[in-house]
Each structure stands twice: as structure tokens, then as C-alpha cells.
């Protein structure tokens, strides 16, 4: 019983921690692109990587101010969105999907390559860039704090709080945007591009704006993650994370303001609970070691995510909150 409570506490912390913020911001970004505008961006993690590295490189390598780093990260995400969108937004949805996933994988390989080591420090990554940010905290960051049976370091708590503030502001922005004329145009592009074009709207520009906005939100997520882990390493930004965010978005409900947020919290809660639970069961000998060893549990989470993503799309594509008619899944 005590173990169950422990597992719940660990899972609760995961569902509220900065990892969930990271995932939520990625998913909010994807929601703008996929949920509202119907764009398939499979390279969201690349925007997060540029955000995280924007701070890391600016502060650790170039010795710039923390806020300059934030600006660099956002600017890099905007540039990437423009570069990716220019050629592919005129084409069918799956071309954008292939181009974005290729760009994300390519960027990761580039960041971890030997030739990029002078800038990115290769596979060893960068660290020690969050001091300026942590000192802004109104409480003692060296102490540990216990909340609801979970343990937080002061710095972690600060990153998490700021992260959730960012999530709230982003949700507010999305809420205002989708109620505006801009949001109505974007949603109609998702439903019928040609009809919107015949009304004299420049579809290409609207799609580009959605791609850039989603990318910037992804970059903010990457920054939160980099600050939370106090390090930036190319292999933290595997493209499986993009699909984790897709799964979270679809779980919560695409084309809903709070869908991605609830989806991300729930996702991390479930993953961490399954993770801790399985480890405990293996430790107790309930699950025999030959069947599943403790080292396999980390991989098992992705197996479950893959399975969950498939089942969701087959049986409940609108997720928890979504409206089936609003989920862009039938268009070519």
C-alpha cells in the first residue's frame, strides 16, 4: 500500500513537473498547426531543440545575457518555420510531414556531430546556463520543498511555476486567437482550403503564420526543458518526443484550447505511474526478471505510447474533450 502511495506521488509530480510543461507547450504548438490549421508538423522537437540551445549556446558559449538567449531561441524557431514552410506549405499534407521530420532528425545529427562541437559541444552537450534565471526566484533555490508528499528542489519548483505561467498565457493567447477573425480563417483552411481561397484569403500566409506561432510555442517548451534539466544535449531531443506530444494532444482533444494541457499532464501521470509501478513489481518479484528487466521499463513506455496512439486514433480520434467533426483526420 505504501508503495502504491509512493508511486502515485511520483506520478503526480511528473504530471505537474517541468517535463509536463515541456510536453504541454509542444502540444499547444502542434494544436495550433494540426488542430486548428490542419498542418502536419512532425518536426516539433526541432523547434524545442532550437529554443533550448538558443539559451544554452548564447549563455554558455558566447557569454551573452540570459534574455538575449531567449530571443535567439525564438528567432531561430521563426527562421526554421519559415525555411520549412516556404517550400512545403503549397504541397499536400504528407509532404510537410516528411520535410519536417527530416529537418528535425537532420538538425539533431548536425548538433551532435563532431564538426559542430565548437558551438554545441557535441554529444556531451552544454550546461551551466540557467544561473541567471534561477537567481530570479523569490525563494531559496538551494532548499528542498515538500508539497503533497512530493519533493522539489527550489530551482526545479521555480522553473515549473514559470513554465505553468507560460502554459496559461499561451492558452489565453490561443483562446483569444481562435475566437478572432484570424482563428476563423485558419479553421476554415483546415476544413476546405479551396473555399477559403475563393473568398480571397491568402491561404499560404495564414498557414505560414500558424506554423511560425506553433514553432515558437515549441521553442518555449524546449527552453523550459533545458532550464529544468540545467543542460542541453542533442539526444534529449529525439523525435519520439514529437509523437509523444501528438499522443498527448490527441488524448486531450485536438482543436480544444485546454486539450493539449490536460493531455500532457495525464500522459506524464500515466507514464510515470506505469513506470514506477512496473519497477516496483519487478523489484518485488511479481513480474519475473527474465520476462522484463528494470532496464527495459524505460523502453516499454514508448511501446505503450505507440499502442495508445494507435488505439486512440482508431477508436476515439477526438480524445477526451474534442469534437469529432473538428478533428482534421480525413483530408488528404
Amino acid at each position: 500500500m505504501g508503495e502504491l502511495v509512493d508511486a502515485l506521488a511520483v506520478a503526480l509530480k511528473a504530471g505537474l513537473g517541468f517535463q509536463a510543461v515541456f510536453l504541454a507547450l509542444l502540444a499547444i504548438g502542434i494544436n495550433v498547426q494540426f488542430g486548428y490549421a490542419g498542418l502536419l508538423n512532425f518536426g516539433q522537437i526541432a523547434f524545442a531543440m532550437l529554443g533550448g540551445y538558443g539559451i544554452a549556446i548564447s549563455v554558455s558559449q558566447w557569454g551573452l545575457n540570459f534574455w538575449v538567449g531567449v530571443a535567439v531561441g525564438i528567432l531561430a524557431a521563426v527562421v526554421l518555420a519559415l525555411l520549412l514552410g516556404l517550400p512545403t506549405l503549397r504541397l499536400r499534407a504528407d509532404y510537410l510531414a516528411i520535410a519536417t521530420i527530416a529537418a528535425a532528425e537532420g538538425l539533431r545529427l548536425l548538433f551532435r556531430s563532431v564538426s559542430a562541437t565548437p558551438v554545441t559541444n557535441g554529444t556531451r552537450g552544454l550546461s551551466g546556463f540557467n544561473a541567471d534565471f534561477v537567481t530570479l526566484a523569490p525563494w531559496d533555490t538551494a532548499r528542498r520543498y515538500g508539497i503533497l508528499g512530493t519533493q522539489w528542489s527550489g530551482a526545479e519548483l521555480w522553473v515549473t511555476v514559470i513554465g505553468w505561467v507560460l502554459v496559461a498565457l499561451s492558452c489565453l493567447l490561443i483562446w483569444l486567437l481562435v475566437r478572432s477573425p484570424w482563428g476563423r480563417v485558419v479553421k476554415s483552411i483546415r476544413e476546405d482550403e479551396d473555399a477559403v481561397r475563393s473568398l480571397g484569403k491568402n491561404v499560404y500566409v495564414y498557414k505560414m503564420q500558424a506554423l511560425v506561432l506553433g514553432g515558437v510555442l515549441g521553442a518555449l517548451g524546449g527552453m523550459v526543458y533545458a532550464l529544468g534539466t540545467a543542460s542541453a544535449n542533442p539526444d534529449q531531443y529525439q523525435n519520439a518526443n514529437t509523437f509523444l506530444a501528438y499522443a498527448a494532444l490527441i488524448l486531450g482533444g485536438a482543436a480544444r484550447v485546454l486539450g493539449p494541457v490536460v493531455g500532457s499532464m495525464l500522459m506524464f501521470f500515466i507514464i510515470q505511474f506505469a513506470d514506477t509501478g512496473l519497477r516496483t513489481l519487478i523489484g518485488n518479484g511479481v513480474i519475473p526478471e527474465d520476462l522484463l528487466s528494470a532496464t527495459d521499463v524505460a523502453q516499454l513506455r514508448f511501446v505503450l505510447i505507440g499502442l495508445g496512439l494507435m488505439l486512440l486514433l482508431v477508436f476515439r480520434p477526438q480524445g477526451i474533450f474534442g469534437d469529432r467533426r473538428e478533428v482534421m483526420l480525413d483530408a488528404r
Binding site: 512545403t88 527530416a102 532528425e105 523502453q299 511501446v303 488528404r332
Partner: protein, 423 residues
């Protein structure tokens, strides 16, 4: 005791020797003390001293950092069995010695084992002797790689053509071939050729299972293409990480094919295994082309890919044709996986890493066309290898992915595709 080597002057083709003392050396370790170790040396440079070696756990937490000693040797004791990632600092390598692959390697350490770690280095001795011309060598390697991509990509393209599905789980069909053959070959003790044939049958079976268990019911439900695409991503994640659980995170070679010696052909050198994989790929692809051109089922495939409704109304059983396409695609991808495992060792995510290059090849050739996939893949393979003339080896895939994006700008319908497909 640290004789499990880490040397591989692959490009030189000169020497890859696993020190014979390895097995006896391990018994000197007291039980319960796991460690990873290795020796950094190449033929030209001798032992390499002062290279930083970082060992981290699977979660990324650092275990210890070591430096190689005057004999080029290093060892790091581990807290327990499990998966560890070993990274060497390429900056520390002496002049003339470069990495031929990535600078990291993930190994699974069993209880009480001293696990040797191999990271491939090149001392450039290939250019020095043997009269090898570098660009010819790269062209030949590129052709081999391109043929492998083509073998896997034909199925991907035909599946897209017949069903409209952009199958992100196609790389996993490649991996299953390589892994199945490895288990049959290494654990079962069956020679590689029959093992590869069994792997192809397994690949065809998995392809058929894909169609019958997932995609045919989904087509019947009227699932949209974007939903199908995301489902294929879910399937890809599921299978890929399942492979990692079953197979482990390390890379393994087939029995009897470790450290092949390269044969000198004047302008280029090539191992016999690589030569046979080129021949096999050529023969198989030729057979596929003949089948598509001459046989009834081949014609039916092209007809369905061209216009599904017209094909159905002229009496072709579309579902049967699609099933055959899946089985053929699965078998070809599995064979491609075996051949790739032969040259680059078997890894759990080898198929996924190939997938993006397959997409590049298929897009270049024109999505949905079988011959386009062939031509496009070979161009991509050659381009990726030849690009190392200009860019470092470890970013060569980036070149291929950049090519993909450039194709999408310049000619999205591909070389052999028709404009109408782009929509």
C-alpha cells in the same frame, strides 16, 4: 585484461583484429564487477593516449570519465549490469585519425562481465596505399547503399501507390528482417543465407499481418489518410521500442561476418560480403522489375497504383493485389535489412534511420511509382556517400535529408512522377 579491442581501421581495410586473448582475459575478473573497457589504436598511429572516454547510463547520468593510457587502453568500472553509453571525445584524437562513424556506442553489460566497446576509427591509410581513388570508392559504396535503400523503398512506394498510405512503420519491416536473421543465425546457429531466406519469409508474413490486421479493417472503416499516417507512426514507435527490449540497445554482427577483409580491385576495395550484397540486390531488383512488367500480378499492381477504381472496375481484385504488395514489400525490406546488417551491424533502430532516406529516395523518384523509387534511392545512396568528399562523415545523413527538402522545393512530383499526384 583489456584486450577486447576497440580498433577498427575500416577504411584502410588493413586490419580489424579482435585480440584472441579476450575470452581468457575475462575470467580474471572477479564475479559481480561489471566494467566496460577498450583500446584505442590504429595501425598508422599506434596506441592513442589521452583520449577522454565518458561512460553514461541509459538515462544520461554520467558514471565516470576515463582517459586512455600510454597503451591506448581505458576501463571504467560500472555500478551494475545494464545499458551504458560510451562516448569518446573526437577532439582528443591525434592528427590524421578520424571517426568513421559516430563517436558513441551503446552496449548492454551482463552481470559480472567486462564488456569490450568498439568504436570505429580510420587513420586514412586507405588513401596512402593501394592506389585507391577516393571518389570511385565512395561511388561504389554509394551504389551499394543506394541499392539497399531501393530494395526497402520499392515496397514503401508501391504501398503508397496502391493504398495512399504514407507508411512511417516501413523502417520497422527492415529491422525485423535484420533482427530475425540475427537470431536465427547467431542464436540458432543456422548459416546466414538460409537465415536470410527465413527472414524474408518472416518479413512477408509481417507485411501480410500489417495489411490484414490493421490496414484492411481501417480502410473498411473509412479511416482518413492523415489518421492512417499517425497510426503508422504509433505502430512504428510500438515496434521499434519492442525491438529494443527484445534485442537490446547494442549493435551486433552476424556470425562469421565480423571484421571482413577487403579485396583490392585497383580503383576501390570491397569486402566479399559487400560485393555479394550488391549482386543480390541487383538480381532481386531486376526480378522485381520483370515481375512488374511481365506477370499478371505485376501488371495488376501497376494498374491499382495508377487508378484504383478503374482497376477494380476492370475486374482486378484490389484487396488481393494490395495484400501481395504488402507481402512483397515486407520480404524486400527484410532482405534489405539483412544486407544492411551485414555491412553496418544489426541495431534496433537501423530501419528507422533508413526510413528518412527511403522517403528521400521515394520522393525524388516520385511517390507511388515503383521505378521512381529505384532510381531515386540509388541517387540518394550515391549522394549520401559522395557527399563525404566535402562534408564530415558523421553528418552525411544530413546531406541526404537536405537533398529531400531541396527536391520538395524544386520538383515535388519527383523525377518520374506526374504533376497531378501532388494535389
Amino acid at each position: 585484461m583489456l584486450l577486447r579491442l576497440l580498433l577498427l581501421t575500416v577504411l584502410g581495410g588493413l586490419a580489424l583484429t579482435l585480440a584472441p586473448g579476450a575470452a581468457s582475459a575475462q575470467t580474471e575478473e572477479p564475479a559481480g564487477t561489471e566494467q566496460v573497457s577498450g583500446t584505442l589504436r590504429t595501425n598508422a598511429s599506434g596506441p592513442i593516449e589521452g583520449v577522454e572516454v565518458v561512460v553514461t547510463t541509459a538515462d544520461g547520468a554520467e558514471v565516470e570519465t576515463a582517459e586512455t593510457d600510454e597503451n591506448g587502453q581505458w576501463a571504467v568500472p560500472l555500478p551494475g549490469p545494464g545499458q551504458y553509453t560510451v562516448t569518446i571525445d573526437a577532439e582528443d584524437l591525434p592528427e590524421g585519425v578520424v571517426l568513421t562513424g559516430e563517436n558513441t556506442r551503446t552496449v548492454t553489460v551482463d552481470a559480472g562481465r567486462n564488456q569490450g566497446v568498439i568504436i570505429a576509427l580510420s587513420d586514412g591509410s586507405r588513401e596512402a596505399g593501394g592506389g585507391t581513388v577516393r571518389w570511385v570508392q565512395l561511388l561504389v559504396e554509394g551504389l551499394r547503399f543506394g541499392l539497399l535503400i531501393a530494395m526497402a523503398a520499392v515496397g514503401l512506394s508501391l504501398i503508397f501507390g496502391t493504398t495512399g498510405l504514407t507508411n512511417f512503420a516501413h523502417g520497422e519491416l527492415v529491422t525485423i528482417g535484420a533482427i530475425a536473421a540475427w537470431f536465427i543465425n547467431v542464436q540458432g546457429g543456422v548459416p546466414l543465407v538460409p537465415a536470410a531466406l527465413i527472414a524474408m519469409v518472416i518479413g512477408a508474413g509481417v507485411g501480410a499481418l500489417n495489411e490484414l490486421a490493421i490496414w484492411r479493417p481501417l480502410r473498411r472503416r473509412g479511416t482518413g489518410l492523415v489518421a492512417a499516417l499517425v497510426i503508422s507512426i504509433g505502430l512504428s514507435l510500438l515496434l521499434r521500442y519492442l525491438y529494443q527490449i527484445i534485442f537490446g540497445g547494442g549493435s551486433e554482427a552476424y556470425a562469421d561476418y565480423r571484421g571482413q577483409r577487403a579485396v583490392d580491385y585497383g580503383a576501390f576495395t570491397m569486402t566479399n560480403a559487400d560485393l555479394s550484397s550488391i549482386v543480390i540486390a541487383l538480381v532481386v531488383l531486376l526480378l522485381v522489375a520483370v515481375m512488374l512488367q511481365r506477370t499478371k500480378i505485376g501488371k495488376a499492381m501497376r494498374a491499382v497504383a495508377d487508378n484504383r477504381d478503374l482497376a477494380a472496375s476492370s475486374g482486378i481484385n484490389v484487396n488481393r493485389v494490395i495484400l501481395v504488395v504488402w507481402m512483397m514489400g515486407g520480404a524486400l525490406a527484410a532482405l534489405g535489412g539483412v544486407l544492411l546488417g551485414l555491412s553496418d551491424e544489426v541495431q534496433w533502430d537501423m530501419g528507422f534511420r533508413l526510413l528518412l532516406l527511403m522517403f528521400a529516395g521515394v520522393t525524388l523518384g516520385g511517390l507511388g511509382t515503383a521505378y521512381g523509387a529505384l532510381v531515386g534511392s540509388i541517387v540518394v545512396g550515391v549522394f549520401v556517400q559522395m557527399s563525404t568528399l566535402v562534408i564530415p562523415n558523421d553528418v552525411k545523413y544530413v546531406g541526404g535529408l537536405l537533398l529531400l527538402i531541396v527536391i520538395l522545393i524544386v520538383r515535388p512530383q519527383g523525377i518520374l512522377g506526374s504533376r497531378v499526384r501532388v494535389g
